[in-house]
Symmetry: C2
Subunit: 343 residues, 2 copies
């Protein structure tokens, strides 16, 4: 046993799910067996998301999908059973589960509390099945207890999408009164707007979607259309979070940043990002930074913050047997923010 988190096999469980059996295939009923070790918890799934991320995994967009693949990377469920070594969780606890469900516990990143960079981490849909199932079995370190305020469908997207944007915000030292833009107001972006607004930032939404523009304006957000003449906003943003998938004229957006501003990439543009080096270092030290989900500490802080500040996603809810229909709606743009499938 090489890993710090040793395992001791105790029992096996048959899990009933919906899966895509191979690339681009619709979901069909699928069962698999999984062992529950002494360090695991067995979770009865209550709510889980279906999103564009699942569509891309089913399309094997990144080439690393493990088929048959059970989708969903944000899950809320109830602890039904726990291994002998599990001390921090109890039967009846509600927990949230995100994209990362295991880390080695002994590499330099795990030791620093940066489990999101562990090279031995296990992720939903690559190494473990996602949450579109009746039960899940996960290591207790990656099942995060959630308070009553978050035991509801609208909290489900917090555990991957919410964590990703919250972590980007706190790890880039974004704080009160800063002017922060969010490009792309979907699953990630609409949660970013909510966190930023509640933190007291001057929050600006960049979107080309007219329906969303009107919705956002009624909610009090400043909105900039992607086709708008951006030059008048040059040198005014402390940070811009890119949460989209579309390609941009990146120079135009770098120019929007103050001399010490940051462009944080949490989305995945289809093509390479190209920019003029001078925009980073002429009278400035601008930065282009990445972010990948968040650490376990980030997750705990995010949960506490969201519960206290009533940060919840705008969801459309569906039943389990509507899952294929939902994936079709996601592809066709029929889900404005995010879909949650109830058990």
């Amino acid at each position: 046993m090489d890993d710090a988190r040793t395992t001791c096999y105790t029992s096996t469980m048959e899990i009933h799910a919906l899966a895509s059996l191979s690339k681009n295939k619709s979901l069909v009923p699928y069962s698999y067996n999984k062992e529950i070790t002494s360090e695991d918890v067995l979770i009865k799934v209550k709510y889980r998301t279906l999103s564009n991320s699942d569509v891309l995994f089913i399309d094997d967009y990144w080439g690393n999908t493990a088929f048959p693949v059970v989708p969903s990377e944000d899950v809320i469920g109830e602890v039904i059973k726990k291994g002998n070594a599990v001390k921090n969780l109890h039967v009846g606890d509600f927990v949230g589960i995100g994209y990362e469900v295991y880390s080695c516990g002994r590499c330099e990143y795990c030791k620093k509390g940066l489990e999101q960079f562990c090279q031995k981490q296990r992720n939903l849909r690559i190494h473990e099945q996602g949450g579109l199932s009746d039960y899940m079995i996960v290591h207790h370190d990656f099942a995060f207890p959630i308070p009553q305020e978050l035991q509801r469908p609208e909290a489900t997207p917090l555990f991957c999408a919410g964590l990703t944007v919250y972590s980007a915000i706190v790890n880039n030292a974004i704080s009160k009164r800063m002017k922060v833009g969010v490009i792309g107001i979907g699953r990630l972006g609409h949660l970013a707007l909510k966190f930023l607004k509640s933190m007291g930032c001057e929050t600006v939404a960049f979107t080309g979607d007219l329906t969303k523009q009107n919705d956002l304006k009624t909610k009090g957000f400043e909105v900039i259309d992607l086709k708008e003449e951006l030059e008048k906003f040059n040198n005014s943003f402390d940070c811009i979070l890119y949460t989209s998938t579309i390609d941009l004229n990146w120079d135009d957006y770098l120019k929007l940043l103050k001399p010490t501003g940051k462009l944080c990439i949490v989305g995945f543009p289809q093509n390479q990002i190209s920019f003029s080096a001078g925009l980073l270092n002429d009278y400035s030290r601008r930065q282009i930074v990445g972010n990948f989900i968040g650490s376990r500490d980030d997750m705990k802080m995010m949960i506490a913050y969201a519960a206290k500040n009533n940060i919840l996603a705008d969801v459309d809810t569906f039943s389990f047997n509507e899952s294929n229909k939902v994936l079709g709606m996601v592809k066709d743009g029929g889900i404005p923010y995010i879909a949650v499938i109830k058990s």
Copy 2:
């Protein structure tokens, strides 16, 4: 008078220099008059650099050269006279002067001690004449006293090139034992190597120049040829400083960074930088960051650090009347690191 640093004109001085009268023209004798205000010091120039930066300004590469242009952006000289309001400098002091020679003193950046981002700053060869002259007149805030150890030709390149790399190092929190690469070992790069090595970093030089490779190896630096198979060094660097002008396959270099590593751009590649977004945010939060010269505080720290740790440039020295020859040598690659013109 809008600026915090008010001026009171007291006298005028005729300065004798060498200047390029228009784009791409050789240097010819050129005189100009400049007023000495109560906040200025008159400096007798002892040493100044000529570098590729001057070649580019004479070529009007960035389109902002003010012709006739007197080159040189790093200067050492002696205070000969000072305005009534100057308290921190005295006649006989040796001072270093860099690229920035004025800032407004009242904008948000000046107030934060980040004068290098002041939008009203004045720079050599754009707003003020450079140092290839008998005298210079500069605001006392931008003439930095230097100790005896630095009163020599080899210290001259510290005041623009040295400041730029020192500021990049300290503002990116590079510290002892970190593994740091430097791409391009010329004017900026060779100073970066010296600072990094003296700070206890594991310092690696990336260069395609075989003569420099041998020189660097004898000095104890690890060297990687730009044509070498880089993959074996993936995920191993805390920071890479790009100090070159050549275009790279940027993805190959981003992959060299650890998950939290930084690529710092202080050079100016000829074309746009293109990279795959996933290299910033797949199991990582890598960063691409810029840097622009340094603040006044950075300059003072750099001077103290260089004096204490014997950081000096590898220079070739020439006389004033060899200046045109030197610019030709710079263009032809005949100056390995940097040229200094003595008075």
